[in-house]
């Protein structure tokens, strides 16, 4: 059964329609790629999936239940890990603090939070010195890795990533994609937004969004 499914989703900012009548299914253990030209509404779709915005029409089902019935904060902090296009890190905090804060918000208990956060950050390729640096003092690629580590910190079943490889060189891009691959193998549902064909190639399924104005 699909962990997330879109049922005839429509969305518009005010009167400008962005998404129209979308019906997609996302399953556990698979990696999806959402493609589309700039402005096609990829980020918007992710916002809907993470509960930051509600569809104007249609419904999103999480484990078969309407997303409307689920506490959005709980959804974002526990069930869905989001890697934003612009990272959305707390810039005055260190990489480590960003990750542990996310764990705190998710209500994860235990004293080994810090160790686990360091472990996660090491997995995405940050050394301890970088972990204890303020986010502002990290490069774009490093910030992206912090965002990934943060999204994984609460062990979500679904991972949404908006252009996770956009700022990375091909080498690092591959490393990151490997991480997502392994997460999918572990049974997570990974949804990536990318207009890179290489990324789309590595995914199990690709949904292409058409820019609304150009839709026939």
């Amino acid at each position: 059964m699909a962990i997330l499914s879109l049922k005839n989703i429509c969305f518009s900012y005010g009167i400008t329609p962005v998404l129209e009548n979308l019906s997609y299914d996302f399953e556990k253990g698979k990696m999806y790629c959402i493609t589309g030209r700039s402005g096609a509404g990829k980020t918007t779709l992710l916002s809907l999936l993470s509960g930051l915005a509600a569809p104007t029409e249609g419904d999103i089902l999480y484990n078969g239940d309407s997303i409307k019935k689920i506490d959005k904060y709980r959804l974002r902090s526990k069930y869905i890990g989001v890697i934003f296009q612009s990272f959305n890190l707390i810039t005055k905090f260190t990489a480590l603090e960003n990750v542990t804060l996310s764990m705190d918000i998710a209500g994860i208990k235990g004293k080994d939070k810090k160790a686990r956060a360091l472990e996660l950050l090491a997995e995405v390729g940050l050394d301890e010195d970088e972990c204890n640096r303020r986010v502002l003092q990290l490069s774009g690629g490093q910030q992206q890795r912090v965002a990934i580590a943060r999204a994984l910190s609460c062990k979500p079943e679904i991972i949404l990533a908006d252009e996770p490889t956009g700022n990375l060189d091909t080498e690092t891009q591959r490393e990151i994609m490997e991480i997502f691959r392994s997460l999918a193998k572990k049974g997570k549902c990974v949804i990536l937004v990318s207009h890179s064909p290489q990324v789309a190639e590595m995914c199990d399924e690709t949904y292409a969004l058409l820019r609304h104005s150009k839709k026939k």
Partner: protein
């Protein structure tokens, strides 16, 4: 759960030290001013309490002449204008102005009264061998050379008006006291017996004590006798034994010598026991004859008029306040008033401190309003500046309420730290600052009194004195009040409270905490509104 919010709050404070120090400095300034205001108010409160605690209140019942005069005003009948019945008033004053001893004693039964004493005052004349101290130059020769003419001169004047205006023109003012307590000058330590001993206030033997000046003037010493006469009937003689001689340091003859009547000169005050003086008065009443004044044609009797004044003392102020109700229940009618000179002088002493306290109150309100406005603005800017952070936190799944709580914690921590620092600094400077301000107030108050004195043609300084520094700490207050007997002779000197010794206490600290909480809530509420209003999607989409 809550812990991470607090942890986060402190982390955020640490990461934006500059801004928080700025907010802290502003709050510190507000807190310092507030602390000063509160301390001044507290100091006034403390001074009041300490003074009142140590103060034994005394009260007197007096005749309300004004209300009586109102009653005497006749409604104009047959188109006549309203007229004032002077004769009836005089008679009324003669009869009704004083309560009888029995009445006074009855009111002393009121449960709030802890002590009761009374004094009978009468004016008597001297005799050839016993003359009053006077600085007037007799018209015919010196007093010693022509005692007869001298006392006749006064007697003549006294004959005319002496009946109603109790012996203002006689030689001596004689006080018959019910107990040593009634000798207030001695109780307060301004007067003391220098030779001999005091009379027995319960005895009806004709013993008395006289002032040093009077003793020197007449060459008297302990054991001698003096002869007093009835000013209305020079045939009536009373022989008193001088058992003691006293010195009254508070009595300054200079200020009285100008004011006419010899008997009001404190040197001419003779103390004796109430039963003894009462005995004299009764004798004159028994022998009284009714005569007609040659000049005015008005009838008068030759008995000596006396006035009785009673003083009730109370353990504390509350007893004094209940006393009035009790005596009204015991039947004291409205033409009499209960008053306490202790309380009046205490209130006068408190004037500068109270004024300061009142000003401090207004100052406090203004400071808090301005402070609250500044903090609201600062916090709104703060929240707007951190809009993105709020967006991120909510996007990460942190509930808006928790974000708001974190912001509130930050504000509270900074405010609290600043307020505590303000309280510490305020605590150390409040006493000197309050004293400096108080000095200004006292000077102003003294100036005001001086101006009033000058308006009435009296020299500055006669109405008030500037208390020497350190002499007026609240503990030793309430005692130095103008003596009742001389009160009407000049404006009372007011010993203002000029210094406070402590202002900060736990009350002020608690009030400061309250202020910190209040400021946090007010400014926090403003930022909460912003936090709750923000939509993370929009914030994150609008990121620059």
């Amino acid at each position: 759960m809550i812990l991470y919010i607090i942890k986060n709050a402190f982390r955020c404070i640490g990461r934006s030290r500059g801004r928080n120090i700025l907010i802290g400095i502003i709050v510190l300034a507000i807190a310092l001013s507030a602390c000063l205001g509160l301390s001044i108010r507290q100091a006034a409160e403390n001074a009041k309490k300490e003074t009142l605690e140590g103060m034994s209140v005394t009260a007197t019942i007096s005749f309300d002449r004004q209300s009586m005069m109102g009653n005497m005003l006749n409604e104009g009948e047959n188109d006549e204008p309203p007229s004032f019945d002077r004769d009836a008033f005089s008679q009324m004053m003669g009869e009704a102005s004083g309560l009888t001893l029995e009445e006074y004693k009855a009111y002393a039964e009121a449960p709030s009264v802890s002590g009761f004493y009374y004094t009978m005052s009468a004016s008597l004349n001297g005799s050839d061998a016993f003359l009053p101290v006077t600085s007037d130059t007799p018209e015919e020769g010196s007093a010693a050379d022509a005692p007869n003419g001298f006392s006749q001169g006064f007697g003549g004047k006294g004959g005319g008006r002496g009946q109603m205006m109790m012996g203002a023109q006689s030689d001596f003012s004689v006080e018959g006291v019910s107990s040593e307590e009634a000798m207030t000058a001695f109780m307060q330590g301004t007067a003391s017996i220098t030779r001999g001993e005091n009379f027995d206030p319960l005895s009806d033997e004709l013993n008395c004590i006289i002032s040093e000046e009077l003793a020197t003037f007449n060459g008297l010493s302990v054991g001698d006798t003096v002869v007093l006469t009835n000013p209305n009937n020079e045939e009536e003689l009373f022989t008193l034994a001088v058992v003691g001689i006293y010195n009254d340091t508070s009595a300054n003859s200079d200020s009285f010598s100008m004011m006419g009547a010899t008997s009001t000169d404190p040197a001419n005050k003779i103390y004796m026991a109430y039963p003894a003086l009462n005995g004299i008065i009764e004798v004159t009443a028994q022998n009284a004859a009714t005569l007609t004044d040659e000049n005015t044609g008005r009838e008068y009797t030759t008995d000596i008029k006396s006035t009785l004044s009673a003083t009730y003392s109370f353990k504390d102020l509350d007893s004094y306040y209940s006393f009035e109700e009790e005596v009204r229940e015991l039947g004291l009618d409205d033409s009499y008033t209960v008053s306490s000179s202790d309380l009046e002088s205490f209130e006068a002493r408190m004037v500068p401190l109270n004024t300061l306290s009142q000003m401090a109150g207004y100052f406090l309100i203004v400071i808090l309003i301005i402070g609250a406005i500044i903090l609201i603005v600062l916090n709104i800017f703060n929240v707007r500046e951190r809009k993105y952070e709020i967006g991120v936190l909510t996007a990460m799944g942190m509930k808006k309420g928790k974000v708001a709580a974190q912001f509130l914690t930050e504000i509270f921590a900074v405010t609290l730290a600043a307020v505590l620092l303000g309280a510490i600094i305020g605590g150390t400077v409040s006493v000197p600052v309050t004293n400096a301000l108080l000095e200004g107030q006292v000077a102003q108050q003294t100036n005001r009194s001086d101006r009033i004195e000058e308006s009435f043609g009296r020299g500055p300084g006669s109405g008030s004195i500037t208390a020497p520094e350190g002499n007026a700490i609240p503990d030793d207050t309430g005692r130095e009040r103008p003596q009742g007997g001389f009160k009407n002779l000049g404006a009372a000197a007011v010993d203002y409270i000029t210094e406070i010794d402590s202002a900060m206490n736990i009350t002020v600290v608690l009030q400061m905490l309250g202020i910190a909480l209040l400021l946090t809530l007010i400014s926090g509420a403003a930022s909460m509104l912003f936090v709750m209003r923000y939509d993370p999607l929009k914030i994150l989409a609008n990121r620059d």
